[in-house]
């Protein structure tokens, strides 16, 4: 078991895990406006609606896990290969609100400290 902060062991390629076994399937992703299609060697492995995609925490190697609410499968891929507009608008709004709250808290804290 290792804890890593560095990108020393970069693993490349997109992998799909079906959630039934831990076996990895080499996968290619096809993005359309509404769906993400995950293709394997033998054909299509899964089709996920983009609105239900969940983007996981990126690791130090720049890889992220992509999942779909209500589906057991997972995709492990380079964060750089993720389309820029993939973050759902709701999540973007939530991030924006989060940082707005942080800004308000910081201002309040600074005000209290100065006074």
């Amino acid at each position: 078991m290792t804890l890593s902060d560095s990108a020393s062991e970069r693993s490349t390629g997109t992998r799909y895990y079906d959630g039934r076994s831990a076996a990895a399937h080499a996968a290619t992703l096809r993005w359309s406006d509404a769906f993400l299609s995950i293709d394997g060697m033998a054909g299509e492995l899964a089709v996920w609606p983009r609105a239900r995609l969940v983007v996981g925490e990126p690791d130090p190697e720049g890889r992220i896990t992509l999942s779909c609410r209500g589906e057991p499968g997972r995709v492990s891929m380079d964060a750089a290969a993720l389309p820029a507009r993939i973050v759902p608008p709701r999540m973007r709004r939530r991030q924006y609100l989060g940082w707005l709250a942080v800004g308000a808290a910081a201002s309040a804290l600074a005000f209290v400290l100065v006074m």
Binding site: M1, L3, Y17, R20, G56, E57, P72, S76, A105
Partner: protein
């Protein structure tokens, strides 16, 4: 990590602490995503909302129980006129709280395992947290009766219950502990803590007698004798707590090595630990210094040090075959560790 820490800290301040459930989740996501086994990362899939709902559920259950006990007690007292019978419901309530608090560790482990994924496979747990709580309470009473001498036996039996109920994917964990292997170290720790207590007691005896003289009289702000007595007692408490913790390092390191060294996952993986009392002691003293010097702002460094020590000293032999590791068939809990958040200090990151 500092970005997460500062954002979490500020959001906790403006939400008056409610954001702590999301803080826990964000920190776990960060830590899990940096742990790797056989080249694959772990993933934490829990949410702050689940933790918050679990907390609200725990509050609702506990308040209902307290309310029911108070009503029942009042009715019993009014009907029978006996204060003894009236005291029965609160007594039962205390027992229930003790059982639930002990069982909370079991259910929290179930939640964390179910939200830990590796290659799309999650962990799980069988068994009842209430049964675990009852057993832990009975073992605790046994420890009190034997003046603490059953602690190694109790910790091994409880660890067996928790570990043997756990699984990852289709593979069960197995642990069989022997208290005999720990007893000599436990006796040494026990004697060490008593010696520390006697030595500190002898040093601070004057402060205690001064405090007895102060008694229950209201403390005056400028009474130097009373303030000095209180300060000394606080110092005694601090020195004893820190000293006892340092003495315990030797025992804790041995327990960790014993538990890890006797745990397996299916027939494929065998665990071990190379942790030593010296490393544990160094980490604890270092962490204490970091927290004190940085006034708590060094918490991310402390967390990193703890997880790094755990990862560095954990040994895993064998190979997990991803082709044969199937999904866990236990139904994951819908809410998380509310009772632990409510009844424990919530130390788990």
């Amino acid at each position: 990590m500092y970005g997460i820490f500062i954002k979490n800290l500020l959001l906790q301040i403006i939400t008056l602490g409610i954001y702590r459930f999301w803080t826990t989740t964000n920190t776990r996501r960060y830590i899990w995503s940096r742990m790797r086994f056989q080249g694959e990362r772990f993933e934490y899939t829990g949410t702050g909302g689940e933790l918050f709902k679990g907390f609200l559920l725990a509050i609702a259950i506990l308040f209902s129980a307290v309310f029911a006990a108070a009503i029942l007690s009042a009715i019993l007292r009014a009907v029978t006129g006996s204060a003894l019978l009236g005291a029965l419901p609160p007594l039962v309530l205390y027992l229930v709280i003790a059982v639930v608090a002990s069982g909370a560790y079991f259910s929290a482990q179930r939640y964390r395992l179910s939200r830990t994924q590796w290659c799309g496979i999650r962990g799980g747990m069988t068994g009842s947290s209430v049964v675990y709580g009852v057993v832990a309470l009975l073992y605790g009473l046994l420890c009190i009766v034997t003046l603490g001498q059953m602690v190694p036996w109790m910790s091994m039996r409880l660890a067996e219950r928790r570990i043997n109920a756990s699984s990852f994917g289709s593979l069960p964990f197995h642990f069989e502990g022997r208290a005999r292997a720990l007893y000599a170290a436990f006796l040494g720790m026990f004697a060490g803590v008593i010696v520390l207590l006697i030595v500190l007691g002898a040093i601070f005896v004057n402060s205690f007698t001064a405090l007895v003289r102060v008694g229950h009289a209201p403390l005056k702000g400028h009474d130097p004798a009373a303030l000095a007595a209180l300060g000394s007692v606080f110092l005694f408490y601090l020195l004893f707590t820190v000293g006892a913790l340092l003495i315990r390092c030797f025992y804790l390191a041995l327990v960790t090595r014993h538990v890890m060294g006797n745990t397996t996952l299916g027939s494929q993986l065998r665990f071990g630990s190379s942790i030593t009392a010296g490393r544990l002691l160094g980490m604890m003293l270092g962490n204490l210094a970091i927290v004190v010097v940085t006034l708590g702002l060094g918490w991310p460094i402390v967390l990193h040090r703890v997880v790094r020590l755990a990862a560095d000293t954990l040994q895993v032999s064998g190979q997990l075959d991803p082709q044969t590791l199937a999904q866990n068939d236990q139904t994951p809990p819908r809410t998380g560790e509310g009772m632990l958040n409510l009844l424990d200090h919530g130390s788990a990151f």
